[in-house]
Structure formats: structure tokens, C-alpha cells
Amino acid sequence: MIVADYQTNRFPTWCPGCGDFGIWGALKTSWVKMGWNPWDFAIVFGIGCSGNMADFIKVYGFHSLHGRALPNAVGLKIANHKLPVVVVAGDGDCYGEGGNHFIHTCRGNHDISLVVHDNRVYGLTTGQVAPTATQGFKSKSTPDGIIEVRINPLALAITQGATFVAQGFAGDIPHLTQLLIDSYNHRGFSVVNVLQPCVTFNKINTYMYYREHTYKLDSSHNPQDKISALTKVMDDERIPLGILYKEERKTYEQSLNQIATNTLVEKPYNLNLNSLLNEFK
């Protein structure tokens, strides 16, 4: 497989310069490196500029509803836990509309890789504020500036039980590609938050902004150190890139004896139905 093998005949509808191009490129490159054919894995897409990627990729795709990609992915994973499942979602999608699902998917440690396009704004609905926006950010829906403080998705993921928490930048495709590959190879729920400039509706969190405010985690950071990871993700001025937190914990699917050997979808059906009647006699 080469990168072009994953592309449909539709050219992306994103604005020129959109960070989504970088994420799209990193995703395709990561699959080439994983050696995945289009039928070797599945992607569940949320709704938004991020989810519109569904039309541009040749793969088993499920273009879900706004906010609901994670529960669709959880159901799919339970049905066929041997199939790698990736979720491509947006910040409003996953941390706003689907915020409850995000928390509970972390708790369950379902073996899913979540890739969130975090541009701190709603692009597809033409520029309203996202839950990741900095307090005071002015948008069409918050002309006087957003009153709420920003959600901290990485801190939330770490504290709610995600076992692989990382942050990438749409402007650094090789680094993001490696994070994605690491997330696929991790057994458990992986959250990869991708800082993604929206060139049309967010004039503050630009490529330049992220180049000035981010730094790459080096070997001095121990991803097993939860407190150190939390300290780093709480800093809004110096934004870390890399694997912040990693823990080995049984996945949801590994905890189910029913599917210890075969997946639900491949298991033969052999219930002794008449014995089920005994309790009703």
C-alpha cells in the first residue's frame, strides 16, 4: 500500500491551509507503515470538518452522528475486537456533544484509537466557539467572548482512565504519524489530541501560535508518571507534544471471558436452548 491507495477520487473540501490536510496525511502514512489494507481496519467518523474525511478515504468507514462516533466504535469493537478501530472526531464533536461518551470510553479502556482534531472552533458550522477555546475567545456565538473556561481534554483523559494519552500538531506530520502508530500498537483506549489550526475561523491559534507555544517531550518525561503528565497538560502557555501518559491495563474486551478466544462475530452458535427453560418451570 502507498498513501495514494487510500484516497478516493474526491479531493478534500477543506479550506486551503487547513490543519486537516496534515492530519489526513499523517493518518494515511501511519496506515502504510502499519501495512494495513483498506479492509484490515475500520474508522468511525464524527461530524464536522474532521468527519468529512470519510469521503476522502478508502477504508471500512462509518460516518456517524455529531458526538456519537465513540459509542458506535465501542459497539463495533465489542462485536469484532480483532479489528483495529480508529475514531476520527473533532473537538466540539468529541468533547462537547459527545463529552459524556468521551469520559466513559476512557473509563472502559476500550481498545480504540481516538484522533481528535482540536482547532478550538467550529469550522463546518462557520465559526462558533468550541469547548477547547480559550476563555474570552470571540466568535459568532460568543461575540462578547466565551465565559466558560476551556475544557482540558488531556487532563480529562488521564484522570478518567484512558491508557494512552498523547498530543500532536497538524503542522508536524512525521511526529504525528509516529504518535498514531504508537496509539494503534497500544492495547487500550488511546487519545491523540491534535492541535489543528483553522485558517478561516481561528486567527489566534495559528500555525505560528503553535510553533511558538509547543515543545516536544523528551526522554526526561516518564509517561508512566501520571502527576507529571497532569502538570504538563495543565500548562496553557507551554504546550507539550508527544506521549504524555501511558499505562498497561486490561482492556474492556480483554475483561470479557465470552470473547476470550473468538470474537462475537466469528463465534459459532451453539446454545442449548432447552436448558434455558429450566428456571421457568
Binding site: N37, V59, G75, A79, N80, L256, Q258
Partner: protein, 583 residues
Amino acid sequence: MNNLPQQTLTWKIGGEAGFGIMTVGLMFSKVSIREGFHIFDYVEYPSLIRGGHNVYEVRVSSNEVYCQERKVDILVALNQETVSLHKDEMKDDSVIIYDNEKTKISATDFAPSVILLAVPIAKIIKEAGASLVMQNNVALGASCAVIGFSKETMLLVIKDMFLDKGEQVVKDNSIAATLGYDYVSNNYKDKFAKKLTPSKTNDQIVLTGNEAIGLAALASDCRFYCAYPMSPSSSLLHFMAAKADECGIVVKHAEDEIAVINMGIGASYGGIRAMVGTSGGGFSLMVEGLGLAGLTETSLVIFEGQRPGPATGLPTWTAQADLEFLMHAAQDEFPRIILSPGDVEEAFWLTVEAFNLADIYQTPVFILSDKYLAESHKSAAPFDFTKIKIDRGKLITSGNTTDLSKYLRYQDTSDGISPRVIVGTKGTYFLTNSYEHEENGLSTEDSSQRIKQVNKRARKLVLYENNLPAPNLYGDMDSDITLIAWGSTKGPVISALAQNNYVIAGKTVNFLHLNHVWPLPRKAISNILSRSKKRIMIEGNSTGQMGKVLRRETGVVVDDYLLKYDGRPFYEDEIIDKVTKSL
């Protein structure tokens, strides 16, 4: 059916929550079926964990029983409140079993022929050194002795019900029940006129509507059940969860009903049969997901157990007021099928059918039940599992030799059903899309593509309608009056008519029962109703929802309504009164 005179009675026990009313009620039902009788039981309780008034009644008969009875033959009062609330339900020759040291009974409240049978339940328990929680077993023993059920049968039921809790639990319960049984045998032998003689009915099972649905789901190869607790659907979640390990299925209690339906959709997309369950309030949260299943053409079985609403409503009571909600839930138009079983047998077989329909038509299929059916036990012949045919529809599996290189997920076929490939099948891939899409699944806003897909989806329902079975008509085709009901109201109507041989006040009466409630078998219904002279619609809501749907779909106007929306099921006498007054 035997030719002996019908033997029948209604037994009712009341007490506080926490007194083990539900347990003793089910034990009484099981003793009854093992003594060769049919039963129907009905419970009333408030939405509380402790306290409040719980009532469990069992109607026992040598013939099939379809519903609860207003009057009781044996009332077991475990507290004072039971006497005061139910003293007007006595028949002339009824018995009240009560603890004379705890409960005061005024003989003037009752006809002289009513037998006041004092059993010092608490004292018996105390003298035996047993725990007061065992008083329900003393009551069971006393009841069985009054009726003439065998002590051996009673003790076998206790053993079977408690064996998984250990020998000691079986022993404690057995001792208490025996004490109650012996007390009545020694002190009140043969006082009760309606003693039952063991009947010869073949082996039966006794189960609730929810248990029948759960059993059918397992028998239909459902491999994933997802729910969020809500009365009266929770007992289905508990049943499925208890069976998960043994049956190798996965049961998930998700974070909310939005997640529930989306996990169900995800699992079905993954290739397995999936079911989700809730009540009307939870289904309100699922509505968005219903549309997702409709547009993505994902097979899904949705169980909805109705209770009175809106909002929190009356959590532990019954209703039939969600029909129009389910018919119209979610924006725009897409095919859906709603089945509404009338009793435990229909609950079983319609669930089997629901899974096949979901797979064949690749669309959501509802099982619309209610608290009355969900939690009432009925005796039934054991289900014949060999009659189950699993039909997964146009499913292309890896074993098929179909060329997948040109596969189109939403292919515009003549019957509207596009062949389906399970995600992960090698050699192809496709997009399952919540946006309107082309045949290949990619998004489109093109006018002709949109029209093509809307029409394709709509054709699926046309095919279904052409294959719909005719509704059941009970009684003679040509009768003076036709009663119409859907879902669980079947029981009281059938019972009211059967005991009057389908003649009320000199008029012949028949009964049209609808269990395929959306879409309706329109032609068959209008053929039947166009011949009836007077039509009375009986349903558990305040606006006559099915009556309105019938008018819209068949042009038939019903002449009169019997509506009930107080959370209680219909009673036979209400139906007979309605027919009598409508003449």
C-alpha cells in the same frame, strides 16, 4: 382442554416492599403450574425500594388464564394496609389470611360468609427461631394448605428457587413454609369451599413478557444487548446480564441511552445481531440514533417497555401511549417496523420475527411492550425452539463467491434491499454514511441521488407490507360488535369475551387484535372492519392513538372508545360494561 368443570381462584398477597412479596408471589405461581394449573399474575408496587404497598396477585385456573381478576378469593395480608386497601375486593366466600397479632380485622367490614383465617405468622416464626423475613414463606405455606396444593410440590418449588443460594437458604425457607402449611392443616382443615383438585395440564413454564423476549433474543442468536436501567425494561437487562457468561453474549450497561443505541448500531455494523432496550423516557434520548439506523440501513431491534409519562411519569405502572411517538420518532422519513406482542407467547415469537425483519429489511424494528406485559407472569407451553428459522437477509459472507470488486453498499435494487457485507470482509470496503449518499456510500447532495435513495429505502417497507400476516380475529367474523385492541390489552379482552362465549347482553362480539402495529396490514384490517356493525377501540392512552391511525390508514372510523390512562391495566368488567352501555 379437559371436560371437567373449570376450577379457578385468585390469590393476592400484600405487604411492604422488603417483605419478599415478589418472591412469594412467583413461588405461588410456580406451585400452581406444577399442580397442573394455568396462571396469570400481576404486580403493583410504587417506585420505592423500601416501604410503600406491594401487591402480587395470581389468578389460577384449570383453563388458560389471560389476565388478572378484580375480586379475590384468597387475600393474604402481611400488614394492616393490605386489609384496608383490599377489603372491598372480597367475594362472598373468600378467605383472608392475616396475622391476628399484628393486623386488626373488623368482621363487620365483610360479608358473614367471608372466612377470617387468623395465622399468627410472626409468632410462628419466633417460636421456630427463624428470621422475620421468612414470614412470606409462612404465608405461602398457609395459602397452599388452604387451597389444597401439595406440600411436596411447594417444597420442591422452594428448593428449585433457592438452590443456587445454598442448602441452608433452602432449609430455612422450607421450614417456614412447612410451619405455615401445618398450622392451617391442623387448625382450619377444609374451611375453604374452593379447594383445587390437581389438574392434568401438561408441563408448563411460567415467565414474564420481558423474560420471553430475553429468551427469544438468545434463541435468535442476539449477541449483544445494551441498555440503561429504566422501569419496566430493567428486568430484561437483568435477565440478559445474568445469561451473558453462560450464553457467550455481551451485555453492556452504557452511560446513557444515547450511547446505548449507538453501541447497538456499532455492534450490528460489526456483523452481529444486536438489541437495545429502554422505556419511553430513555427512548426519547435514542431518537437521534433511530434516524442513524434508518439512514445507514443498520439492522437493530429496539425494545420499548411503555409506562405512563411524559417525563418521569408513573415509573412502575402501565400504559400504551407511545405508539405514535415510535411511529414518528426522528426527523424526516425512513422505514421502521413496530411489533407489539399481546402475551408472553407473542412476546417470544414476535421477538424472533423482529430479529429476522431487522436483518431482512436492514432497518430498525421495535418490540413495543409495556409494564403490564413486561412484569406479569403467564403460564405457557414450553417454546418449540425447532420452529425458529434465523434469516439474516441479503448478507454476503466471506463464504459466498460474489465478486466484491464492484460492491455497492447502497445499491439501488428493485426491492430496495441492498446486499450487505460485514465490515472487515477482505477484498472490499465501503462507507456507511449518516449523510445522504450515493450507491457507493459517499456523501451526496445531488437531487437525483437523493430521490433514488429515499425511494430505495421506502421500497423496503412496501415489500414488508406485502408480506404482512393478517391480524388475529377472535370470535365469529360476522358479529354485532367488534372490539379492537393492540399489544397487551389482548389479555383482558380475550378473557372478558371467552368467559361469555363471545356474547354480551345478547349481542355477538368478536375481537380484532393487532400486534403488527406499524405498518398495519391495512387491507386485511379494512376487510374485517368493513363487515362489522359497531367498532369499539380499547387502548391504554387518553387520545385513542390506534383509533386515529386506523382511520388514517384504512379509512375505517371506530364508533366508540374505551380508554384508560391511570397506569392500571384493563379489567374484564370494564370491557363488559363498555359493550353493555354501548348498545
